[in-house]
Structure formats: C-alpha cells, structure tokens
Amino acid sequence: MHNRPQHFHAQAETALANAELRANFRGAMDYLRDKRKTAFADADEERTIRDRAEAIRQRCLSKLPELLEQLESNCIANGIRVHWAENADQANAIFTDIIQSHGGTLAVKGKSMVSEEIELNHAMEKEGITCLESDMGEYIVQLGQETPSHIIMPAIHKNKRQVAELFTEHVPGFQHTLDVDTLIQTGRNVLREKYRTADVGVSGVNFAVAETGTLCLVENEGNGRMCTTVPEVHIAITGIEKVVEFLADVPPLFSALTRSATGQLVTTYFNMISGPRKENELDGPKEVHLVLLDNGRSQAFADEEMRKTLQCIRCGACMNHCPVYTRIGGHAYGTVYPGPIGKIISPHLMGLEATQDLPTASSLCGACGEVCPVRIPIPELLQRLRHEAKQDPKPGTAPMRGQKAAASNAEAFVWRSFALITSRPVLYRMLTWCATRFRRLIPNKLGPWTRCRTAPKPAARTLRELMAERNK
C-alpha cells in the first residue's frame, strides 16, 4: 500500500484530488512558514547565522573520513560501541544482533528518519521484535500503518478528527474526542507504559561530535530522552554525514535548526549523550551503540557539487516552502525524505532508476534554496540530477547509480534535430516558413503537453518576415 517514487505522477494526481489532504497541508505549511518568519525577523541575523551554519557544515564534510575516525575513537573511549553499515540490510543485521543478544522483544524508538530509511520496524518485526514509535506524530502514523509525510512533523497530513478515528479503532478504552489535550494524554498513557517495559531504546542523532564523542538529540516531547535513558540498551543510528568537528560547532547549527524547523529559539530538550551509565550511576542505559550508515551517501560525497546535499541538517524548511510539496504532501513522493531535500538525496539512496521523476517535480522557483539554513543550492542540484538522469556522466567522473535511467531515444532525436535546424539558416527558414504557412495542420492534441494546456499555434508570419516587411 505504500507509495513508491516510480509512481510519482499517479500518486501526485491522487493527492491533488484529495481536498482534505490539501487543506491539512495548506494549514500546516502556513503555520510553519509564519513561525520561521518570526524566528528570523532580522534579515541580517538570518544571513549571518546561515553563513556560519554553511561554513561549519562544509568544513566538517571536507574532513569527513578523519572526523568519522575521530568520532569513533572518542565514542569508544567513552564506552559507546560503534558499528558501520553500508546499507539497510547490514544496519538491520546490527540491530537484530544487539537486540537478540539481550533477549529483547520490545524496542521503543525516538524519531529517526534514518531508521525509516532502513525500514527498521519491518525488519525487526520479521525477527519477532516489536519496534514501537514513540514520537507522538510517528506513533499516530504507525497506528495507521503509514509512513511519515514530513521529516519534522510526521503526522502533518492528518487532522485531529482523523487522529481521533485512529485512536477509536486502535486504542482500547479510548473515548472519542476532538480535544487535542486528551488525544495527547491518550498517547502519553500508552507510551509511558512502553518506556517502562522496553528492552531497548532506539534514536537518531542530530549532531555527532567528533571532538568529544557526543551524540546530540534535539526534541520537544521528551520521548527521545525516555528512549535513550530508561531502557537498558540504547542504539543510535545516523548517516555518516552528521558528524561535526567541535562541540563549539553545535550551538550555531542547533539554533539554525530549531528556528528553521519550527520557528523556536530552542527546543524543550537538547540532550547530549556521551556514554552509557557509569559504575556509580543509577540510571541511563548500560550499553550505548552507534550505527554509522552510508547507504549511498558516499556517492553524493564523491562529487564536489553533490556533496553539498550532505550539508543538510534536516530542518524541513525546504519542504515547508515548496509549492509542489504544499500541494501534493509528503506521501506522493514515495520516498523517506519528501520535498526538495528528498528530491536531491533520494537519487543517491535509491538510485536514479527509481527516482528519475523526482528532480523534475519542481518549478525551480528557488524557494527551497532561499530558506535552507545551510544554503544547499537545491535548484542547481535538481538541474544537475535531471542531467545525470538523461545523459552520460561527465568524462572522468564515475557514473551515478542509475545514471542515464531516464534517457529516451525520442527525446534525444528531437534535441538533435532541433540543434541541426537552428544551426543551419537555410533549413531554419524553410521550416519556419512551413510552420507558419501550414499552421492549421498542427493537431489540437499533442500528447501529454496538451493534457492541461492548449496546443501552441504558430503565428501567420515569422518575426523575421514581419520585421522585413516593416523595414521595407
């Protein structure tokens, strides 16, 4: 039932036809944009904080292999066990090993898009391990057997009536209500029981600090703290790009993140984890594991321009400001990361065969690039990916996964003919003469082009002819 990027066009059409969904997204996006605008009321401040955030991310990426090694050795020194995974299968195998070695059957999970990327919940289910989402939005989405439709607010596509319906169906003893406080209390009660009894807690990572071997987690709800504090084992998973060099790199990124994401000066909790419970401590996990996942990121890293994709701090501002995302919502993309960031990261994670339509789903209006706190040139990258999807790689560079997957002979033929015609004056004049004289012969239906447009009609005379007439 889950959407796939291969069916993007059909999914987008279905989404567009769903009035309730569009209203939910419209409301949510307006809200988030307003909040961000207030948080960055001062344009100068916005500019300088973006300068700083961009500089930090670029510097840290420029030293990525060294920083990963430094992170690893400092984590180990702190008592954190570090694992590396090339892809989803390897990452899931690591999770299975750890959880089963403790005889665990229930894991509670804080919000982590990387764990969505490896489809952790499904993989664990196959091993007989229940993996319960504990972020309120994720919990709702999981109840409905859906996937998150936004990277910050996973259940943004649902309104409270729809949430109440889900609870009525799935939460025993729930008395139907549209009161949001009561709805949250309902979730709270279910989930608190799970934190208490879970064997393992799973989380993502917002920033991993190489200098000190520290994992930073940004959240408002406290479920992240619950998952990383109460169960005896904590497993954190992150993409390899999330590492930063110094602890001092964290405050500016944290500020850029919260203000861009939800317009907050700061989140309720900022949790810095640098190791398991010590001998004399009375709580906190007895084991902390860190899983470092590549899953296509090193492909993006290899190309200097595409490397900028990895600067992303997952604030979601690009999707909040994207006219396409606002109208079709997150699910239509069929990828873990929707919207502008999804369009530039997914081709690396899943290959261009599967994702070739995504880079074309943009008006290139530039809004995403304009709000991105780390200044990822998203529109340029979209154009670059469009190119890679159709053409051979630049000489001397390695092909992308799925390079040229969208190449079409017909299209190539059209472009070659266009080049031929426009570079030969005689041919060009002949053709435009024909086009103007026989313009009535051009059909009204021109395939997909005329599905929502009227067919173009050439003028009666070419501009050249008109000018010649005038200058006579």
Binding site: E86, K158, R225, V266, M272, S298
Partner: protein
C-alpha cells in the same frame, strides 16, 4: 562489520576532498554581562515556554519548596541522595510530603517512579539566558530520570550559575575537553504540536516545570 568500515572510509578517502580551514564567520547572539538582564530574560523565556518561575533568596528555599509542594497537593516526591540542596529539600519535605531518595538502580523501582511519584526535584548545573534554558548535569547524586519521569519537575537554580549564551558557557567551562555521560538543556515542560499544530504539554515527560531561582546564591 569492519569490512563495511574499511569500504566506507576507503571510498570517502579516495575522493581526496580538500580539508577546509576553521573559518567561523561571526553571528550575533544574545549576550549581556548584567546579572539582572540575564535573569529577566531567562525568566521571560521560561515562562513563555510554560514553566513556572519564582525568584527568591536562598534563605527562603525551604519555605518556598514547602509551600509549592503542599499548595499543589504533591504527596510523593523523588529526590537525589546528595547535591547542593539536598539538606534544604529534605527539610522542606519533612512533614509536608513523602520523600523517596533515588538510592537504588532505576530497574529496582521503575514501576514506582513511573506510576507513584508526583514530582522530582533536582538542582541545576547552570542556565542559559539567551534561550531560557536550564542546564542539567545528572550524576550519581541526582540521576537522569529524576527530571524526566515524574509528571512535575522542580528545578533549583543559583542565579550565579547563569550564563549569557550556550557558546559562552561551553567555553568558560571547557566542555570540549570532556563531557559527562549525559548533559541536558531543558527549556520548559515536555510538549508537542504533532496533532494539527495544536500545542499540548506533558507529551511524555513532565507536564509541569517549576523553577526556583536563588537570587543571592
């Protein structure tokens, strides 16, 4: 998975990315050296985030705690086993409410802490005025879950430990040289806006955050 490690690092190395020097362009950040300024900002921001803040002299701590505890009808309170305010806390709770000292591993009284405790009391390591955040540095005397599991968290802060902003506090205290197992910024009670962008408090952790600021300490 050491083969994965080698393969990933090899691929990254082969790119030969040129390491960029540390260049940190300045950005404006709220700052002040005036204690009162900082206190006002901290209080305002905490209150905006739904915390309840009281400023008082240290000598008034016992009375304030007592009033707060009986006023809100809190019956069973979890506390640490030490820390700077342990004696005052113990004194305040005597005859007011039942004190449960966190003196055994969490596993041994998880159920009780989750289901039968009304509030947890902790001290603060410091606070940050710029963002209205308390800094908690849990340890054996005041474990992590004290500020997380009970539905109400009472935090005691000495005004003298207030810093203007996070980078200032990190540098002054040399956090980069080594970190405790867990360090936390807390800027309000637990909250969520996940259902139709409607703000609700007490999503998972404390529904209430009570901050007592000792102005002369």
């Amino acid at each position: 998975m050491s083969t994965a490690r080698t393969a990933i690092l090899d691929r990254l190395r082969r790119v030969n990315a040129r390491p960029l020097p540390v260049k940190n362009p300045d950005y404006p950040i709220w700052t002040s050296t005036d204690r009162e300024d900082m206190l006002v900002r901290l209080t305002e921001l905490l209150e905006q985030n739904h915390a309840e803040v009281t400023r008082l002299p240290r000598a008034g701590l016992v009375a304030a705690l007592r009033e707060r505890v009986s006023g809100a009808g809190l019956k069973r309170l979890a506390t640490g086993t030490g820390g700077e305010f342990f004696e005052e806390i113990t004194q305040a709770l005597q005859g007011t409410a039942e004190q449960l000292c966190f003196d055994q591993p969490l596993e041994q009284w998880k159920d009780e802490l989750f289901n039968h405790v009304d509030a947890g009391i902790t001290g603060c390591h410091g606070a940050i005025a710029a963002t209205g955040s308390l800094v908690l540095w849990p340890g054996p005397a005041e474990p992590r879950t004290l500020s997380l599991v009970p539905p109400c968290h009472i935090a005691i802060l000495k005004a003298s430990t207030l810093h203007a902003n996070l980078p200032a506090m990190m540098t002054e205290q040399g956090w980069g040289r080594g970190m405790p197992t867990n360090l936390l910024l807390v800027s309000g009670p637990s909250k969520t806006a996940d259902i139709q962008q409607t703000l609700a408090y007490g999503a998972h952790g404390p529904k209430e955050l009570v901050v007592l600021i000792l102005e002369d300490a």
